[in-house]
Amino acid sequence: MKSLTNFMDSFGAILLAIIWIAPLLFAFWAATHSTSDAVNLKLFSPWTLENFRVAWAGAPWLKYFINTFLLVTVILIGQFVLTTLAGFAFAQLQFPGKDFLFILVLMQLFILPEVLIVENYAMISRLGLFDTILGVGMPYMASAFGIFLMRQAFKGVPIELHEAARIEGCGLLGILWRVYVPLAKPTYLAYALVSVSTHWNNFLWPLIVTNSPDTRPLTVGLSIFGAPENGVDISIISAATLMSVAPLLIAFLIFQRQFVQAFLRAGIK
């Protein structure tokens, strides 16, 4: 009886797992077969890499890759600097106005950047950052969630270490850099993984702020490439899609455990 329920559990779990990755498997299969074989579901037709070659030639993918890479790097550096400073101030310093500022930061958690696209677009244009990578990244740098996360991490640092560093003659920024930042390494890693995968995947805001292949990230490039009016067929779209998700997907498969823990630790994005 027990082994039967155990078998049923394994069966159900694996069946659901197969359903869940089926779209990805189908895309892989379609990308490696000729279009006419793919649309006719000829499962055992010969393999080909032709679709990847055609898809690669169809758009400046390398530029898109570099743009996405630069974008996530710029955002991550900005977030690390800003949330470290703010998180430290909220966690370890006493000053008037702190509680009020903290409530303001809390409020940003529900004012999604996605909803404010119109005014943020106006702001980016006013700052002269339209169609720049910095313009795509800037609204996400002062992440309220990141400030929260760093504040939590810094609150866990024993005050004795802080005192000891001060007695050694370390200034406040020195203490932050030498004591707090190294101790929060796991939090930084978790935050980095969540941030990179969020912004690697972001679409709507880059669509609005970018206007040229020189700044466009992969997601926007992919959406333009896949538009039906471009007359691209399903095998080539699949190939392009797989190419653009490959780096993140491979990273995920290698660092699976860290990825899952990062999402656990980070809660909301």
Partner: protein, 297 residues
């Protein structure tokens, strides 16, 4: 001594404000000022070359309330939220109970569930296009094996929103599973042992012990899912563009369309304010009713 303490206090205040200022500036530029500017511009008319903008009070809101498309979009979004939230929570819970149990191929199962989460929604939509395309898509191919007629899943008003809903559930469930998985691992082993000694069935144990202990997690996931039901719209750009005849249009897509396709900024602003108000209520529920520790452990 008191002079020293005073100096220290002042030093901390200066440092505090200095350290916060970069974040405060950016939050002001991209969250607070835009919110107020949106509220402000929602009270003005749309400017044309002949007629400059003028203060109209709540007229934009009244106009929006009289717009049948707006109500259709609200209805769509409510249906979208009403289906995706419970279904993805239910699937996430099943996934977590399985992925936490002693089953075969556990590593593969966990990876498979979570993989859609790391894909861009745009890429996910491209993959699903392959399923939904009429005549050529996988769904129709499978259907034709059983003699079913070809269905234009994305092209007819009855099915378009449901096709969008399915993609969303597929994308979200694995993400929510992670939170349940974490919560399940904090449930002490001896509760299970005690239940076994008492002779409780697995169903009783799950219903009486596991589900109540997962309640805070469920609430947390529900709030997140509600927020996502406003912001997850990327697949609309690939799959339906809100059509046919607005049948799959969601509120954020409509805001984007108003502002960047119809150039009607005041209407977009009025809608944005309403979305912020609703999200504010959701946030208030989150702050007042949820145990804060479940968010940031």
């Amino acid at each position: 001594m008191s002079a020293h303490a005073n100096l220290e206090r002042r030093r901390q205040a200066i440092y505090g404000w200095l350290l916060l200022s970069p974040a405060a500036v950016l939050l002001t530029l991209f969250a607070f000022y835009p919110s107020i500017a949106t509220l402000w511009s929602s009270l003005f008319s749309r400017g044309t070359r002949r007629k400059p903008t003028e203060f109209v009070g709540t007229e934009n809101y009244a106009e929006l309330f009289a717009d049948p498309t707006f109500w259709l979009v609200v209805k769509n979004n409510l249906l979208y939220a009403g289906v995706t939230i419970p279904v993805s929570i239910f699937i996430a819970l099943s996934m977590a109970l399985w992925a936490n149990g002693k089953i075969r191929a556990r590593g593969f199962v966990r990876t498979a569930y979570f993989t859609p989460t790391v894909l861009p929604m745009i890429a996910a939509a491209n993959l699903w296009l392959f399923f939904y395309t009429p005549g050529l898509g996988v769904l129709d191919q499978i259907g034709s094996l059983f003699g079913l007629p070809s269905v234009n899943w994305l092209g007819q008003p009855e099915t378009a929103l449901w096709a969008i809903i399915i993609v969303t559930i597929w994308k979200e469930a694995g993400f929510f599973m992670i939170f349940y998985l974490a919560a399940l691992q904090t449930i002490p082993e001896d509760l299970k042992e005690a239940a076994d000694i008492e002779g409780a069935s697995r169903w009783t144990y799950t219903r009486r012990i596991v589900l109540p202990l997962l309640m805070p997690t469920t609430l947390f996931i529900a709030v997140n899912a509600m927020i996502n039901s406003v912001k997850l719209i990327d697949h609309l750009f690939i799959l339906t563009k809100g059509g046919p005849s607005d049948a799959s249009k969601l509120i954020l897509y409509y805001i984007w369309e108003m502002a960047f396709a119809f150039f009607d900024a005041p209407s977009a602003a009025a809608m944005t304010i309403m979305v912020i108000a609703v999200l504010g209520i959701v946030a208030a529920i989150q702050f007042f009713y949820l145990d804060k520790r479940t968010h940031y452990q």
